[in-house]
């Protein structure tokens, strides 16, 4: 194949410089997704009458439609929403500087939050019921028992699944290039548009994504071993 190897080597640092944007997008989305998941999961676990049905309906709808549709929807809806809310509280909307990054984070947070809700619910349910009874028997309130005993254990149980979604999310952030977020893939495209060396630039981007994914996977495996040592009885797949 007649690839422009010189360009690939010179392009590597340029694309790599956009890696922090991809990671920031991933981390912010993950943070809000976990928040959404915990909120939704709490509603489902507490069996709040009407809210539970609403949350479950929203979840199955969010899981049933493509991520790119949600991204495009947020891409159109967030500026629309903000322009209507302009001047309300501290919200200021500048049409020349539309928060595409925020729109992408919103879409990712809700999509992955819907998936992670299941993780939250199943990992809280996986904690032994006797644990909460033990809390009561030593005089803890339900809140204390949840905060100090149940949630830490559930968090450990949820690590492998959450890690899977984290890697999934890391790869999914590339779709944000469709909605004007300048992350790694967009940077690769821009850097290639001078000499039409798209193949080379995308190969560089793919290599960086691959390396990052492998590194993250290794780190998570380590974390799992480290945290899992407190919990040897559980065999986590």
């Amino acid at each position: 194949m007649n690839l422009d190897y010189k360009f690939m080597i010179s392009d590597f640092p340029i694309v790599l410089r956009a890696l922090p944007v991809t990671l920031a997008l991933t981390l912010w989305s993950m943070l809000f997704a976990v928040a959404v998941a915990v909120l939704f999961g709490a509603i489902i676990l507490r069996n709040v009458p009407i809210l539970k049905q609403i949350v479950m309906a929203i979840n199955s709808f969010l899981k049933g439609i493509p991520l790119i549709v949600q991204l495009l929807f947020c891409y159109y809806a967030i500026p629309y929403l903000l322009s209507n809310l302009d001047g309300f509280l501290f919200i200021k909307f500048d049409p020349r500087n539309v928060p595409y990054f925020g729109a992408a984070v919103t879409a990712f947070a809700f999509n992955f939050g819907a998936y992670m809700t299941d993780v939250v619910v199943s990992s809280v349910k996986a904690v032994d019921k006797g644990q909460l009874e033990a809390c009561y028997s030593v005089g803890m309130t339900k809140f204390q028992g949840m905060m100090k005993i149940i949630i830490p254990q559930a968090a450990v149980i949820s690590i492998p699944n959450m890690a899977n979604y984290f890697i999934w999310l890391l790869k999914a952030t590339s779709i944000a290039s469709v909605v004007n977020v300048v992350e790694m893939l967009t940077t690769a495209r821009i850097s290639a548009s001078d000499g039409y060396q798209y193949m080379e630039a995308y190969l560089v981007a793919a290599a960086i994504y691959w390396i990052v994914c492998i590194v993250v996977e290794r780190l998570i495996k380590r974390l799992d071993v480290r945290v899992g040592s407190y919990n040897k009885k559980l065999t986590v797949a």
Binding site: N2, V69, K171, S174, L185, A206
Partner: protein
């Protein structure tokens, strides 16, 4: 609001017209990937030779990079690859490139799902197969394949749903399917009512998803009929 409902109603017939394209992007890659994925799985559970190394790198690459990047790589790379052999494939449609990229991506995921199922299968079953005089092929056909498929079915269902949602990516390279048409419609109306058109597309995707899920649930039920309940 009433405006929006009318916009959605107007958009739906056109969107449904492009449904066959989405289904084509779903069905063709899933059939070919099942074959290719089983082959990769067979290599990956076998002896650790050169083929095993190649398959491992293949699976790692296609699972470790975003599908959008793979799509672009196929779109720009395949013509260059074919150029070496003197074949010009620049005339191929975007849909073909999307299907090829889909197959490469999906078969690596399928191979991992099958590999997990194969390893989870009770290997006493294979020995039992040999002990009643099955040949290797008979053992594969009557013992390994049915049981592996049965264990892998829930995973395959999830992957299939992901594949369906992944077909929406095809519009980024210009292959027109449901989302592609929605995008075109938005462009024709210069952005008027764009959220409603997208919502209509979303509802359509949701409906296909529900159908797919029901189909797989029936399949799971059919397969688990033969499962002996552990008393």
């Amino acid at each position: 609001m009433a405006d929006g409902v009318k916009l959605m109603k107007d958009a739906l017939p056109g969107l449904i017209e492009y449904l066959p394209m989405t289904l084509y992007f779903l069905i063709v890659p899933s059939i070919i990937s099942l074959i290719l994925g089983s082959m990769i799985c067979a290599v990956r559970v076998g002896r650790k030779n050169v083929l095993y190394r190649i398959a491992t790198v293949f699976v790692s690459f296609f699972r470790g990079t975003p599908s959008l990047v793979q799509l672009y790589l196929v779109l720009y790379g395949l013509p260059k690859l074919f150029e070496i052999f003197g074949v010009n494939i620049n005339r191929w449609s975007a849909a073909t490139f999307f299907v090829i990229a889909s197959i490469l991506n999906f078969s690596s995921f399928v191979s991992e799902a099958l590999r997990g199922a194969y390893l989870a299968m009770d290997h006493g079953q294979i020995e039992a197969g040999y002990s009643v005089g099955y040949s290797r092929w008979q053992c594969l056909l009557h013992v390994i394949v049915p049981q592996t498929l049965q264990i892998a079915l829930p995973n395959l269902k999830n992957l299939e749903i992901d594949l369906l949602k992944g077909t929406a990516l095809a519009y980024t390279i210009g292959a027109v399917e449901v989302l592609g048409y929605a995008h075109r419609l938005i462009a024709i109306n210069s952005g008027a009512g764009r959220m409603w058109v997208l919502l209509a597309a979303a509802i359509l995707y949701f409906v296909i998803n529900v159908v797919l899920e029901v189909f797989f649930n029936l399949l799971t039920k059919h397969y688990s009929k033969y499962e002996r309940s552990l008393a």
